[in-house]
C-alpha cells in the first residue's frame, strides 16, 4: 500500500506544520486550547509516522519489489534479519527512521514535561515541529520511500558490508543519538523563546542528553567493531568522515554533560551550555548531512544529491537562527556567580570543556577541509590519519589526565597542600605503572607509555573516590560495607555513574594505545603446508574450503595456530561472493585471547586459483579492552540514568512551592 504510506507522511507533514504555526501562535498569544491542540499534533505526527514505517517494513519483509526502495535494498534470498535492517540501509529509509525517532521523542518529551515546564513546553512544541517539518518534507517531496515501479523478479540486495549483525544495531543506535540531541536543542531554544533563564530546561533534558549520548557512544563502538570485523583492514577506526560524523556530536554532548553540572552547582556558564547544545545538535544534523548527501565522495555528488542542498539550507537556518536568538537573550543568561579559583572542580570541568571543544572543532576542520578545498580549487585534498592522531594525542592525553584530576579536586577552590595529600596515592600509582611497564617494552611508544601512566592515575583516583566515599558513608550510617557502597552510589547516581563511565574511557584508552602503538604485523603468500610467524605466533596454512551459504559463496583458508610451541586450534579467513549484489567481501579471521585481551587478526588479502593465499596477520594487544569498555560504559550510563526518587521529590516540591508546576 504505497499510497497509504505516502498519505501517512503527508499527514505527518501537515500535523508538524500545524504544530509549528498553531504552537507558535498559542505560545505568543497565550491560547491554552490551541497550545494543547499543537501538542496533540505532535502526538499525531508520531502515530502517522509509525503507520508509514510499518508499511515500509511490511513491504521489505514481504519482498514487495513494486516498492523501489525494497527492490534497491533487499532480495529474495536475503536473510530476514537483514531484510529488516534494510529499513535503514538506504537514504529514504534512514530519513524515515530519523522522523520516526524524532516524532516519538517529541511526543514523549512533551508528555513528560508539560506540567513542570509548561511555559517552556509551549515553545518547545513549535521547535520540535519545525525539525519534524523538515524531515517530513524531504520524505514527501524529495526522497520518498514509497516510490513504486513495475515489480522486477528479484531485488538488488543489500550492500554486503551491511550484512553483519553489528549493522542491525549500529545505525539505529546512532540515529537514537543524533535525533535525541534534538530534544535538548528544542528545550534550550524553547527556554530562550519563553525568556526563561531558570534550570528547568536543563532538568527536563538531562536524561534525554544522557540517553542520546549513551546511544551515540554505544553505536560508535558497535560501528568500530563492525569495521574491525567486516571492512577487513586490521583497524577499527580510520578517521573516515562518516565515522567522524558521529564522534563530533558525541564530543560536544560530552562537553555539555560536564559543563551543565557547573550551571547546576554554581549557576555559571549559561551561555556556554546553550552554545554546546546548539553545537551538538548542529553537528548531529551535519553528521546526517555528511552520510546522506554524498558530499564526502565529492562536491559533484553533493550537487547531484536530491537532499544535500536542502540539508545544507536547513543547517544554515538552524545555526544562524539559534545564534541570533542566543545573542538577543544574552542579558537574560548572565552568570550569577564567578569562578573563584583556577584550582577547583569547576575549573577542571572548564579545562575539560575547552579541550573537548578544541578536539571537536579540529575534527570538524579535518572533515570540512577537503570539501572546502575542492570547492575553491576544484580538487580534493585529503586530510590523513596523521593529522587526527596528532591532535588526539595533543588534546586526548590531557583530557585523560583531567578525568583523574577532576574527581579529586573540591568545588570552589582547593589549597595546594590539600591537593598534594589527595593526589599522593594516584600519582604514586601512575609513576609506578610507568616504571613497571618500561621493562616490558612499553617505552617503544612514548605516547603509549604516557597513556598507560595517565590511565593508571585515573583508575587510582576513581578507586580512591569509591573507597573513601564508602568508608565515609559507613561511618555516617553504619551497616555493612556493601550496604554503604550501594548507599553511596544511590545517593549520587550521576557522580558515581560518571566515574564508571570514566573507567570505561580508561579501558578504551588502554585498548587503543595497546592495539595501535604496540601491534605487530606480518604478511606473505603461503601455499598449503607453509607457515608464517608473527609475534609469538606461528600460523600454518592447512586447507582451502568453499561452501554455499544462504546468499553468498564462502571461501575460507584455514590456518593452524601455535604460540610458543603450544597448539591453540585453527583460524579461518577468506572471502564471500554475493551473487545478487555482485560484490566480493573480505571475511577476516579473529582469534581472541580473553585472558590477555589480545587478538590474532588474519586477512586473506588474495585467494589465488592455484590455492595459494596472500595473508596479512596482525597481533593486536589489549584490543578486547575496547569492546569491554562498551559494556562498562553502558553500566555507568545506566547507573547515571537510573531514576532518583529523592531528587524527583525535591524538584516537585521546588516547582510546586514556586507555583510553576501545574496541578495534577
Amino acid at each position: 500500500m504505497p499510497e497509504l504510506g505516502r498519505a501517512a507522511l503527508v499527514v505527518t507533514l501537515g500535523l508538524s506544520l500545524y504544530a509549528v504555526v498553531a504552537g507558535a501562535y498559542a505560545a505568543r498569544y497565550r491560547r491554552r486550547r490551541l497550545a494543547l491542540s499543537a501538542q496533540n499534533a505532535l502526538l499525531g505526527a508520531f502515530g502517522a509516522t509509525l503507520v508509514a514505517s510499518a508499511l515500509l517494513l511490511a513491504a521489505l519483509v514481504r519482498n514487495d519489489f513494486s516498492f523501489v526502495y525494497a527492490a534497491a535494498h533487499t532480495s529474495r534470498d536475503l536473510p530476514t534479519g537483514y531484510t529488516i535492517s534494510a529499513f535503514w540501509g538506504g537514504q529514504e529509509g534512514s530519513l524515515l527512521l530519523w522522523l520516526l525517532i524524532l516524532t516519538g521523542y517529541a511526543a514523549t518529551a512533551v508528555l513528560l514535561n508539560r506540567r513542570s515546564a509548561r511555559d517552556i513546553v509551549v515553545w518547545v512544541v513549535p521547535v520540535l515541529g519545525g525539525v519534524a517539518v523538515f524531515f517530513a518534507f524531504l520524505l514527501v517531496a524529495v526522497a520518498s520511500p514509497f516510490a513504486t515501479q513495475a515489480a522486477p523478479l528479484d531485488g538488488r540486495g543489500l550492500n554486503p558490508s551491511l550484512q553483519n549483525p553489528y549493522m542491525m544495531a549500529h545505525p539505529p543506535l546512532l540515529y537514537l543519538g543524533f535525533v535525541g540531541l534534538t530534544v535538548p536543542f528544542a528545550f534550550a531554544v524553547g527556554a530562550m523563546l519563553a525568556r526563561r533563564s531558570d534550570e528547568r530546561w536543563i532538568v527536563a533534558t538531562r536524561r534525554w542528553t544522557l540517553v542520546a549520548w549513551t546511544s551515540l557512544g554505544i553505536g560508535q563502538l558497535l560501528g568500530a567493531h563492525w569495521a574491525y570485523e567486516e571492512v577487513g583492514w586490521g583497524g577499527y577506526y580510520a578517521w573516515d568522515p562518516v565515522e567522524n560524523a558521529a564522534l563530533m556530536p558525541w564530543l560536544a554532548a560530552t562537553a555539555f554533560l560536564h559543563s551543565v553540572m557547573i550551571q547546576e552547582k554554581r549557576g555559571m556558564l549559561k551561555v556556554w551550555n546553550v552554545l554546546l547544545v546548539l553545537l551538538a545538535f548542529s553537528l548531529s544534523l551535519f553528521g546526517t548531512f555528511l552520510t546522506r548527501s554524498g558530499i564526502v565522495s565529492s562536491i559533484h555528488s553533493f550537487t547531484q544529491s536530491s537532499i544535500g542542498p536542502w540539508f545544507l539550507a536547513f543547517i544554515c537556518i538552524v545555526v544562524l537562527g539559534s545564534l541570533a536568538l542566543l545573542f538577543a537573550r544574552l542579558p537574560l543568561l548572565r552568570a550569577q556567580t564567578r569562578l573563584e579559583s583556577l584550582v577547583s572542580r569547576e575549573a577542571t570541568f572548564l579545562y575539560n570543556n575547552l579541550l573537548l571543544v578544541a578536539l571537536t572543532l579540529t575534527i570538524l576542520w579535518g572533515v570540512a577541509y577537503p570539501i572546502l578545498h575542492e570547492l575553491v580549487y576544484g580538487e580534493q585534498r585529503l586530510v590523513g590519519q596523521g593529522y587526527y592522531n596528532f591532535f588526539v594525542r595533543v588534546f586526548g592525553l590531557p583530557l585523560l589526565l583531567l578525568m583523574g584530576i577532576g574527581p579529586l579536586v573540591a568545588w570552589r577552590r582547593a589549597s595546594l597542600r590539600g591537593l598534594a595529600l589527595t593526589f599522593a596515592w594516584p600519582l604514586g600509582v601512575a609513576v609506578a605503572t610507568g616504571l613497571l611497564l618500561l621493562p616490558f617494552g612499553a617505552g617503544s611508544s612514548i605516547p603509549g607509555l604516557i597513556a598507560y601512566s595517565f590511565a593508571a592515575f585515573v583508575l587510582a583516583s576513581i578507586a580512591l573516590e569509591f573507597a573513601r566515599g564508602t568508608r565515609a558513608r559507613r561511618a555516617l550510617s553504619g551497616g555493612s560495607w556493601p550496604r554503604a557502597f550501594s548507599d553511596l552510589v544511590a545517593r549520587n547516581r550521576r557522580r558515581y555513574g560518571g566515574y564508571v563511565v570514566h573507567a570505561a574511557v580508561v579501558l578504551l584508552a588502554i585498548g587503543v594505545a595497546g592495539s595501535s602503538a604496540y601491534d605487530t604485523v606480518s604478511e606473505r603468500q603461503l601455499a598449503r603446508g607453509e607457515a608464517l610467524a608473527v609475534g609469538d605466533y606461528r600460523l600454518t596454512y592447512e586447507r582451502l574450503e568453499e561452501r554455499e551459504a544462504a546468499n553468498a559463496t564462502e571461501v575460507r583458508a584455514h590456518l593452524r595456530v601455535e604460540r610458543d610451541g603450544e597448539e591453540l586450534g585453527t583460524v579461518a579467513a577468506g572471502k564471500n561472493a554475493y551473487a545478487a549484489e555482485r560484490q566480493v567481501t573480505n571475511e577476516v579471521g579473529i582469534r581472541s585471547d580473553l585472558a590477555t585481551g589480545e587478538d590474532l587478526f588474519v586477512i586473506a588479502e588474495q585467494v589465488n586459483a592455484d590455492g595459494t593465499v596472500y595473508f596479512r596477520v596482525f597481533v593486536k594487544p589489549l584490543v578486547n579492552l575496547i569492546w569491554l569498555a562498551g559494556l562498562v560504559f553502558l553500566l555507568g550510563a545506566v547507573v547515571a540514568l537510573w531514576p532518583d526518587a529523592r531528587e524527583q521529590r525535591r524538584l516537585a516540591v521546588r516547582y510546586a512551592r514556586a507555583g510553576v508546576a501545574q496541578e495534577t
Binding site: 500500500m1 504505497p2 499510497e3 497509504l4 498519505a7 501517512a8 499527514v11 501537515g14 500535523l15 500545524y18 498559542a26 505560545a27 497565550r30 491560547r31 491554552r32 486550547r33 490551541l34 497550545a35 494543547l36 491542540s37 499543537a38 496533540n40 499534533a41 502526538l43 499525531g44 502517522a48 509548561r118 511555559d119 509551549v122 526563561r196 533563564s197 531558570d198 534550570e199 547546576e264 552547582k265 554554581r266 549557576g267 550569577q336 579529586l408 573540591a410 570552589r412 577552590r413 589549597s415 597542600r417 590539600g418 595529600l421 589527595t422 573516590e465 573513601r468 566515599g469 568508608r471 565515609a472 561511618a475 525535591r650 521546588r654 516547582y655 514556586a658 507555583g659 510553576v660 501545574q662
Partner: protein, 107 residues
C-alpha cells in the same frame, strides 16, 4: 488502491480529530488563557534554585571533608561563606513562606 485511499482518509480524519480534541472537550472555555508563571513565581523559582544549590554545596562539602578529599584548612575556608550563602537563600524565600503560613491560618 481504493482501500488505501479510504485508510488514508481515515488517518487524516483521525489527525483532525486529535488536534480538534481540546476544542471538542471544551467548546466554550470560560478562560482560554494559557497560565504562565508570573514575575513573582519566576523569582520564587530562582530563589528556590539558589537555595537548593547552596544547601547541596554545603552537604557536598561536609561529605568531601569527611572522606578526606577536602582538608581541614580548606573546609574552614569554604564552610563559612557557604553557610552564609545558604542562610541568605533561605531568608530570601522566607517572606513567601510566612505569607503561605498566614494564608493557611486564615483558612
Amino acid at each position: 488502491m481504493t482501500a488505501a485511499l479510504v485508510l488514508g482518509a481515515l488517518l487524516a480524519a483521525a489527525a483532525v480529530l486529535l488536534v480538534a480534541l481540546p476544542y471538542l472537550r471544551e467548546p466554550r472555555a470560560p478562560d482560554d488563557t494559557l497560565e504562565q508563571p508570573g514575575e513573582l513565581e519566576r523569582r520564587q523559582l530562582e530563589l528556590a534554585e539558589a537555595r537548593d544549590r547552596a544547601l547541596a554545596a554545603l552537604k557536598e562539602l561536609e561529605f568531601d571533608h569527611r572522606t578526606g578529599k577536602v582538608s581541614d584548612e580548606d573546609y574552614r575556608a569554604l564552610v563559612g561563606p557557604l553557610r552564609r550563602e545558604a542562610a541568605a537563600a533561605l531568608r530570601a524565600l522566607e517572606p513567601r513562606a510566612e505569607v503561605d503560613a498566614r494564608v493557611r491560618n486564615r483558612v
